[in-house]
């Protein structure tokens, strides 16, 4: 095509569409006049000639339109015309429009929210240079192992490491709990970041333990605590009790390499001892030293080659330090979600799928609504066809209406999702844990929402098209709008069944999830979180070491025990079970074992170093033997408690275990003093695991948690606990809270899953109600006359109902059954996320059947009432 001509015609259209139309009219008029002149010359009268010319010409309107179209560029005009007409038509049925927009807004909103989370956690890369080439080793390791891996590997250009530090920052007289990364000197180099202010610490700053007392602030902490004061750089602050100098501010938007936590500061890992209170740099056996390693591969090195390289180094370390280095297979992953990446991605993908199903159900719903409307508008369509409108034009008109509804629904859905995502991104689910969900809505979400709106608009808009294309104007005008009430299976029946099936899937999935959550909340933990409180004290941060720390810990327990109303108090090093997934496993051996290499271990129980009173404070039952006493100290014989599972595994039962011996990996023999009940240690979804408890007085001191049990009001008790702590030493940093509030974190994934699925299930239910209601109401209104005649001829109430609603109920039954079966199949996926989620649960099955029945009843209630209240006389008189 000649581009210039096309461009001219298009631009003339935009600049003067009316002029072009005017010109066409003039030309056509001219044609008629010339023809009439000729006809007049052949002997007709002027009027006759004009009439004849018009007849010969054919449909003036149609050709005018065609000409306009042929000129090109009138699409815009036509679109505006269609939109105007569409708005006029839609305004006439506000109920329909509102129902459609609300349905779509919910469905698109759900999709946009899920996509927003998916986008933030999975699709959006970390804000570092070349995120694709950055790889992480997502497992705890020890600092000496890291140093060996870093220096001996031939695959990484450089390898960085970091661990989390929780401490208090004091800029003068305002200590505030903060957390940050203790990172290797090359951390920022590996990420390829530039400071937004000052400088980062470098490998050259690392000159041995505690040699680099520098911190880099995160941009957001610099913003919130230092009000973006450039003078903050160079200031001295206290971390714990130690002086540190602020040397820089990290770039805006960078919040570490873990997506769901935003650190407030970064410090050199060589200074970790000042915060942790113990030297991890040289503790090869302590895997708390490194949380994650990060590096970039050398050019040409593959992921598998790098893993093999690291495994080779680990094999060497394992041989060199058999007692301290266990066997380990390294795997490289992109950083961001840590080990939760797999389950989180699977869950989000599942959620996205369900949200997609919701949208599909909504489309099916709207599709049948539009089809019903198109059938009711049969007369209008027939009239327009008879008057010379093209079918293409009518279809375009219908699609325009669908697109208008879809865009309005999409916009509303987008607005809802942006509000929700904004709230989600500022939400801190755990006041005590630095967890956040970084979901700030961005342009991608808008694009997705609009695209989804248009696609769904097209989907439900296309449903009635076939109907329109087939309709013959003569038939419709002759027979009236009633048409045939065929017994055939119509497209609408199929749509409704599909929709109900999808809703059945959603309802099943959400019931399975909710039921799983309820079960996991009531499953035995092996302790009683209710009425228990946790105090997380940082003795090392307050300068307590060695025997002083042990003595202080005993005084702390006794002080808590002395509070009126406190039944029991105990202490555990590290965190108690299920808190922060902090449980650490250790290897134990039979008492006659000579080879203490990891592969010869008899079991790998979770290890807890506890004080006397811990079992009572936790309400963990002692099944055999005795509890620890304050006499089980360093000078007494070494003893241990084991859980029932471990006792059975090693000795065949509780009774046989007491008095027997086992060997720790460092060769120490310990005697089993007692057996306690089984419980959960690492996560609520774990299978039964072994656990071992040692007297804390016989182990090196570590970070400490106190567990305090009291029936009194928790707030009051906590106040007393605070004052007791202050009396002992006001300088000890301490966090406290109820066990349940700490436990919330362990139950968080299951809760989120249950809430998300519950909401989707609810939306599914609402959609199926509107779908069935629409279908039932429509079929009753279409058949009012027939039903009236039936009533007049003496039909019983149930016969009327059967005639009016039998079909809807039958479809509901078929759809629900299909949905239930599919839902059960889909629920297997859920079982991996939601603890104890099993679809083969009579309560779930019954619940689904009951729910669908209730939904059906609710949805058909109004149409049924209408069918029953038909007065044949009124109806027949009207016709």
């Amino acid at each position: 095509m000649n581009l210039v001509a096309w461009f001219q015609s298009v631009s003339s259209k935009f600049l003067g569409g009316a002029a072009a139309a005017e010109e066409i009219d003039a030309e056509l008029r001219e044609h008629l006049a010339l023809r009439a002149d000729d006809l007049e010359r052949s002997g007709l009268t002027r009027e006759e000639a004009h009439r004849q010319a018009r007849i010969e010409f054919g449909s003036l309107g149609k050709f005018r339109e065609d000409s306009y179209e042929a000129l090109g560029g009138n699409t815009m005009d036509m679109l505006i015309q269609d939109v105007r007409f569409g708005l006029r038509v839609l305004r006439k049925s506000p109920g329909f429009v509102v129902a459609a927009i609300v349905t779509l807004a919910l469905a698109i909103g759900a999709n946009a929210v899920v996509f927003g989370i998916l986008n933030a956690l999975v699709l959006r890369p970390l804000p570092v240079a070349n995120p694709k080439t950055l790889w992480a080793l997502e497992n705890f390791d020890s600092c000496p192992n890291y140093a060996d891996l870093r220096d001996r590997n031939r695959s990484f250009a450089s390898l960085a490491a970091w661990k989390m530090e929780f401490t208090a920052m004091n800029t003068g007289n305002d200590p505030e709990g903060v957390w940050g990364y203790a990172a290797s000197g090359n951390y920022f180099d590996v990420l390829g970041l530039k400071p937004s202010l000052g400088r980062f610490f470098q490998p050259s700053d690392e000159r041995g333990p505690n040699s680099a007392a520098y911190i880099v602030l995160s941009w957001s902490y610099w913003h919130s605590r230092f009000h973006e004061d450039a003078g903050a750089v160079g200031r001295k602050v206290q971390l714990g009790k130690q002086p540190f100098t602020i040397i820089g501010v990290a770039p805006k938007g960078f919040s570490g390499t873990l997506l769901f936590g935003a650190p407030q500061f970064f410090m050199p890992i060589v200074n970790q001892e000042q915060i942790d209170g113990q030297d991890l740099l040289h503790a090869r056996g302590n895997v708390q030293g490194v949380f994650e390693m990060l590096g970039r591969l050398k050019p040409g090195v593959t992921r598998a080659q790098a893993a093999a390289d690291l495994n080779g180094i680990n094999a060497y370390l394992e041989k060199t330090y058999p007692k301290e280095v266990p066997h380990h297979d390294y795997a490289l992953a992109h950083p961001g979600l840590y080990v939760f990446g797999g389950p989180a991605k699977a869950f989000l993908a599942g959620l996205m799928l369900l949200a997609g199903l919701i949208l599909l159900a909504a489309c099916a719903n709207l599709g049948s609504l539009f089809a019903a409307r198109a059938a009711d508008r049969g007369r209008e369509v027939a009239l327009r066809l008879a008057l010379g409108s093209s079918r293409k034009r009518i279809v375009r008109q219908l699609l325009t209406e669908a697109a208008l509804v879809a865009l309005a629904g999409g916009a509303a859905g987008l607005a809802i999702s942006i509000v929700l995502l904004r709230r989600l991104s500022v939400w801190q689910p755990f006041p005590s844990a630095p967890i956040q969900i970084p979901v700030t809505p961005d342009a991608k979400i808008c694009i997705v929402a609009v695209a989804l709106a248009l696609v769904s608009g097209f989907l439900f808009g296309i449903v009635p098209v076939r109907q329109v294309l087939r309709s013959s104007p003569y038939e419709v005008v002759k027979a009236g709008a009633t048409g045939r009430m065929g017994r055939r299976i119509t497209l609408r029946d199929v749509l409704l069944t599909v929709q109900i099936a999808i809703c059945g899937v959603l309802v099943t999935a959400s019931l399975v999830a909710v039921r799983g959550l309820v079960r996991s909340l009531h499953s035995p933990f092996g302790f009683q979180p209710r009425n228990a409180m946790i105090v997380d004290v940082d003795l090392a941060g307050a300068g307590y070491k060695g025997d002083r720390a042990l003595a202080m810990e005993k005084r702390l327990v006794e002080a808590m025990r002395a509070i009126p109303g406190v039944q029991a108090a105990g202490m555990v090093t590290n965190y108690p079970p299920l808190i922060y997934a902090a449980a650490a496993q250790t290897h134990i051996f039979r008492d006659d074992a000579r080879d203490l290499r990891t592969e010869y271990a008899a079991a790998a129980p979770y290890r807890y170093d506890v004080s006397p009173g811990y079992l009572a404070a936790m309400e963990t039952a002692l099944l055999a033997g005795r509890d620890f006493t304050w006499h089980d100290d360093a000078s007494a014989p070494r003893v241990a408690l084991v859980n029932e599972f471990l006792a059975r595994k090693l000795f065949g039962g509780d009774a046989h275990a007491v008095g027997r011996w086992l060997k720790l990996q460092d060769g120490t023999l310990v005697q089993i003093a007692g057996v306690v009940e089984d419980g959960k240690y690492f996560s609520v979804t774990e299978d039964q695991e072994a656990a071992m408890f040692l007297p804390y007085l016989q182990s090196p001191p570590r970070a400490t948690d106190l567990v305090v049990r009291s029936n009194r009001d928790p707030q009051q008790v906590m106040r007393s606990m605070h004052s007791q702590l202050r009396q002992l030493d006001a300088g000890i940093p301490a966090d406290m809270g109820s066990y349940d509030s700490y436990l919330a974190l362990a139950l968080f994934p299951g809760r989120v899953a249950a809430v998300a699925l519950g909401i989707l299930g609810l939306m599914g239910a609402v959609l199926s109600i509107t779908g069935i209601f629409g279908m039932a109401a429509y079929s009753v209104s279409r058949r009012l006359r027939e039903l009236g005649i039936r009533i007049a001829l003496g039909a019983q109430r149930n016969e009327v109902l059967e005639a009016a609603l039998g079909r809807a109920v039958k479809l509901l039954g078929i759809g629900s059954a299909a949905g239930l079966v599919l839902g059960i199949l889909a629920s297997r996926v859920l079982a991996s996320i939601v603890y104890q989620a099993t679809p083969r649960d009579p309560i779930v099955l019954g619940g689904v059947v009951l729910t669908m029945a209730v939904l059906g009843l609710v949805a058909t209630w109004i149409p049924a009432q209408r069918a029953l209240s038909i007065d044949p006389l009124v109806l027949l008189r009207e016709e």
Binding site: A5, W6, E27, L34, S59, S67, E69
Partner: protein
């Protein structure tokens, strides 16, 4: 009027190009010219002429300008562009080839196969 044949779809454009190639014409003139050169053997729906004319203008095969008709009416005159002349040549050749082939095919007798 003699017996008239419905024109084949797609041939209207070719007829218009041919008619205009003999000299600038207004719309009604095109109609008359086609009647004249075809010996009034072709039936053309008058209205259908205009969408076709506008399409050809849009494709850059015709150009239009307002002028005065022989009986002093204001009318839009169409003439061929260079591209239009080229297209007419091509389409004429195509048509002749097609018509010749079909004529040959239809003239075949049992003995010749």
């Amino acid at each position: 009027m003699a017996e008239q044949a419905q024109i084949l779809p797609g041939t209207l454009d070719l007829l218009i190009l041919k008619a205009v190639s003999l000299g600038p014409l207004h719309g009604y003139g095109v109609l008359l010219r086609i009647g004249q050169i075809s010996g009034s053997a072709l039936l053309i729906e008058q209205g259908a002429l205009y969408p076709a004319l506008f399409r050809l203008v849009r494709q850059g095969l015709l150009k239009a300008s307002w002028g005065t008709s022989e009986n002093n009416r204001k009318a839009k005159f169409y003439e061929l562009t260079v591209a239009g002349r080229k297209r007419l040549r091509e389409e004429t050749a195509d048509w002749n080839r097609l018509a010749g082939a079909i004529a040959t095919a239809l003239a075949a007798r049992a003995g010749e196969v």
